[in-house]
Amino acid sequence: MNTILEAKNINKYFRDPVLFHALKNISFNITKGEFVSIMGKSGCGKSTLLYILSTMDTDYDGELYIDGELTSGKTNDELAFIRNKHIGFVFQFHYLLPEFTVLENVMLPAKKLGEKSLEEIEHDAIEKLKLLHIDDQALKLASRISGGQKQRVSIARSLINSPSIIMGDEPTGNLDSKNAENVFNIFQELSHQQNLSLLIVTHDEEFANKTDRIIMMGDGHII
């Protein structure tokens, strides 16, 4: 089994307003094709952990390996490249660029990566949209589609660069049960069929119970 993501002794402190030890010696790893969820009460540090794992938060102690590559201590530009190439994001809120069309939103990370020609990127983007059954909305502005559709578009965007891992911060938290079910099914499909690793922070017990592994957190520890 090859490891996609490995965290070693991660410690995180908040210094403002008072010194607070948010994450305490977090170590775990995720293998290829594994569908992992992180659960815990509000304030237990699960989102904080996710942002560290996503390389967006660099203010921590410990070591983080993505695809076997040590990311701790890299420059912001290098980290931006890693996020671009290896990590796909899905957030609780839809986070699309509202003035761009759905298709442009999906294409943008691939354009940034710049490994393919514009035609290939467009083709890939439409493929991803088809996979999520929203290719009929491709030319609409991102601000003109419904919440469930937006979430599917952001999943399509997270897939565009064929990342090693998809990270989600309560991706179903803002959706009704039908859409949440839908999103879970998409994730499971990706995990099983495309052998993608997924790491999802969630409150939803029902959602978590269906994943391969649950990491329970409490008070900055893995329980």
């Binding site: 967006m56 609780q92 699309l96 943008l108």
Partner: protein, 420 residues
């Protein structure tokens, strides 16, 4: 290159989706730039006009034989009194000739100097204009008409007739418009000139001129050098003045000193004669630059404000871009490029608007007695102003965009995403 295109694409969509704010920001630049163009063109036009009024027709060096007493009275050469304090009463000017000694060789010598654009002779004579029973005091100057026209824009002041008429007519005279009015003379009429000895020379009026200075127009007239010599009953080597035009006006001072020393003549340079003009020109330039810079500064603050607001509105977008792999520098470039696009578009519009308004001013009638050859307001179209204006637009918008862009670069996406 590729990433540059994406950044430009994002900037473009941001700008277009906020077309109102973008236009207001660009209009700020447009007005600043067009004001600069208009001010500079108009100011320079006026400067040129005023300079032309005096400087262009004033020789850079005027050489003549001045009437003055000897600087050293005979007693100064007497050794016994060299230590004494000598007082000489009733000093009178020395008996001297008005003509410049060896004028023609001196003119040839000056014309060979590479710094000299041209040196031309003049003969000034005093006399009376007689027409019917009227007599008027007059100054008659003999000139080389074509050379005067070439070097000192003499033809600009001729309101009727032209220089060739004078050149081709040995008995021709160009009369000041004041003289012509007083004696009710017109082109083609005859006028008689009485010289100081009382001899009368009939001449034909081939043209009228208006210098804009009434004092000159009421007394001055121009004839050919030879005619003037004939009025004075002098030989062909009788030259009273030499006017020199240089390529570079800066050479006037040293050159006039050199001529005065070398040939024991009086040589007055233009800077001494018209010192106030240069001061006026530089002050006017300073004012137009100051006003334009102020306008652009205001435009710059406008852009700064709008981009700052935009960044607050775009916090989410910035977070998304950063989360999906755009680096802080990419985000910074997006906002700087927006500012620079506003600068370029506003700047180009400003150049066009400035040019059009300049054209408009250029066509507004402006007639004045003082400057007969001017009919509209003077405007200069100097491409250097347009280049400076454009550079100014780009630099000021870049600076105005840089600070907000730096802020956008440093936005922490985690804070935005968590803050929701």
């Amino acid at each position: 290159m590729n990433s540059f295109r994406i950044i430009l694409g994002i900037s473009k969509i941001h700008l277009i989706s906020r077309i109102k704010q973008t236009s207001i920001a660009a209009l700020g630049v447009t007005f600043g730039i067009s004001a600069f163009i208009i001010l500079m063109g108009f100011m320079n036009g006026l400067n040129g006009l005023l300079d032309g009024l005096i400087l262009n027709r004033t020789p850079h060096i005027h050489i003549y034989n001045d009437i003055k007493p000897s600087e050293n009275q005979p007693v100064a050469y007497f050794k016994d009194f060299s230590e004494a304090f000598n007082v000489v009463h009733s000093v009178k000017p020395k008996q001297t000739q008005k003509k410049i000694h060896n004028a023609q060789p001196l003119i040839n010598y000056l014309n060979q100097n590479p710094k000299v654009k041209g040196a031309i002779p003049q003969v000034t004579a005093q006399g009376f204009y007689i027409s019917g029973s009227q007599q008027l005091n007059g100054m008659i100057t003999g000139i080389d008409a074509l050379a005067e026209a070439k070097l000192f824009n003499f033809d600009n002041y001729i309101t009727e007739g032209n220089v060739l008429d004078l050149k081709n007519n040995v008995n021709g005279i160009l009369l000041g418009i004041g003289v012509a009015k007083k004696m009710s003379l017109k082109i083609g009429d005859r006028i008689q000139i009485a010289n100081v000895n009382g001899e009368i020379i009939p001449l034909k009026i081939v043209g009228l001129f208006q210098s804009g200075l009434a004092e000159i127009d009421n007394t001055q007239s121009y004839v050919n050098v030879k005619t003037a010599q004939r009025i004075l009953s002098e030989s062909e080597n009788y030259i009273t003045d030499i006017n020199v035009k240089l390529f570079d006006i800066e050479d006037a001072v040293p050159m006039s000193k050199f001529i005065a020393n070398e040939f024991t003549l009086t040589a007055i340079d233009i800077k001494t004669a018209n010192a106030q003009f240069e001061t006026g020109t530089s002050v006017r330039n300073l004012i137009s630059y100051a006003v334009s810079i102020t306008l652009l500064l205001v435009a710059g603050f406008g852009i700064y404000n709008i981009l700052n607001m935009m960044i607050y509105e775009k916090m989410n977008d910035i977070a998304i871009l950063k989360a999906t792999g755009f680096s802080g520098n990419d985000v910074k470039r997006i906002f700087i490029s927006q500012a620079v696009i506003i600068g370029i578009v506003g700047g180009i519009l400003g150049l066009i608007l400035g040019y059009l308004v300049s054209r408009l001013i250029d066509n507004i009638p402006f007639e004045t007695e003082a400057i007969p050859n001017i009919t509209t307001y003077p405007v200069v179209y100097n491409y250097v102003h347009y280049i400076i204006a454009m550079l100014f637009a780009m630099i000021s918008t870049f600076i105005a965009g840089y600070l907000p862009a730096q802020k956008a670069k440093n936005i922490d996406p985690v804070e935005i995403i968590r803050g929701q």
